[in-house]
């Protein structure tokens, strides 16, 4: 297993930046997410977290700094958070920090919806 690093891009589609660090357990997803094939993009991220939580089994700090994501991305984020919730339920140590623009009340609602949906504690960090 290795780090998972994807450089973000803002062209016709918006690719988020991904930096999942194997050694530290700090996994960051940032930028904007609007992709041609959302499921294909997020599959390796979900696979990485699943293999980390079943083989490495160390603490995870999941950091989200997305400023925009479309509805198909929103399903994939739910999948990612569900992997973390399952890990926590099995005794894994998980912290989720979600950074968002304090004026973006829609984003705040989105984060609350994820907490309701997954039962995972998410720290809201306005900037």
């Amino acid at each position: 297993m290795e780090d998972l690093i994807i450089e973000g891009a803002h062209d016709n589609f918006f690719t988020p930046s991904v930096n999942f660090n194997l050694k530290t357990g700090i996994c960051e997803l940032s930028g904007e997410s609007f992709l041609e094939d959302t499921v294909e993009f997020y599959k390796p991220l979900i696979d990485w977290l699943e293999s980390y939580t079943t083989t490495v089994k160390k603490p995870i700090a999941f950091i989200i700094k997305l400023t925009y994501f479309n509805t198909s991305t929103s399903r994939c984020i739910l999948d990612l958070l569900n992997v973390l919730k399952d890990y926590e339920d099995e005794g894994g140590e998980v912290v989720v920090n979600w950074h968002y623009d304090e004026n973006d009340t829609d984003m705040e609602e989105d984060i609350e919806d994820y907490m309701i949906d997954t039962g995972l504690e998410i720290n809201l960090i306005p900037f």
Partner: protein, 180 residues
């Protein structure tokens, strides 16, 4: 004045100073990118409205791109939906209007879905979105969750109009108001 010019003049009278952007044609990723970046630029004095308009634009334009019953002739090998979109500015709001052809078989479920969305208060609508999101990705399911998101983002009802085109298709317009 010949017929061609007069038609364009009538069009310009319709697309008056309230209209910030009007587009009719195939809606593919390049169009999404260009219009999306204009939305960000035109509204840079109002970041909150700009963010909302951008989110609504992506969901509605993607619905046209994927589901319009009329497809572009420019790329016959791919399905690139054909449609119209309009962004208007008024003293205290923006309006985002899109229109495209829909198969008659799909029109009743689409109207019912919009009416159901309009009947829910914000909390129920959020709950409905969470419920829809838990379902696996499906073709029209994606269009519907897009509409729920549009209603949530706009915080206003979906204003829809349907006009029959022929035995096969109807024209579906949806207008959404975003308060400034």
């Amino acid at each position: 004045m010949n017929a061609k010019n007069r038609n364009l003049y009538d069009y310009l009278n319709f697309v008056n100073q309230d209209v910030k952007i009007s587009y009719k044609g195939p809606i593919d990723e390049k169009i999404l990118a260009v219009i999306g970046s204009y939305i960000e630029v035109i509204l840079n004095n109002n970041p909150q409205a700009s963010r909302k308009l951008f989110k609504i634009f992506i969901e509605l334009a993607q619905n046209i791109s994927y589901y319009s019953a009329e497809k572009s002739d420019f790329a016959p090998d791919k399905h690139i939906g054909y449609g119209t979109l309009l962004i208007m500015e008024f003293p205290d709001s923006y309006s985002f209007i899109t229109g495209n052809a829909v198969l008659n078989d799909n029109i009743i479920p689409l109207i019912e879905k919009c009416e159901f969305i309009n009947s829910l208060d914000r909390e129920s609508l959020r709950e409905y979105k969470r419920e829809q999101r838990r379902h696996p990705q499906g073709n029209l399911g994606n269009a519907h969750i897009g509409l729920i998101q549009v209603a949530l983002t706009a915080a206003n009802p979906l204003d829809i109009e349907v006009s029959p085109l022929d035995d096969e298709k109807s024209y579906f317009s949806i207008a959404v108001k975003i308060n400034k």
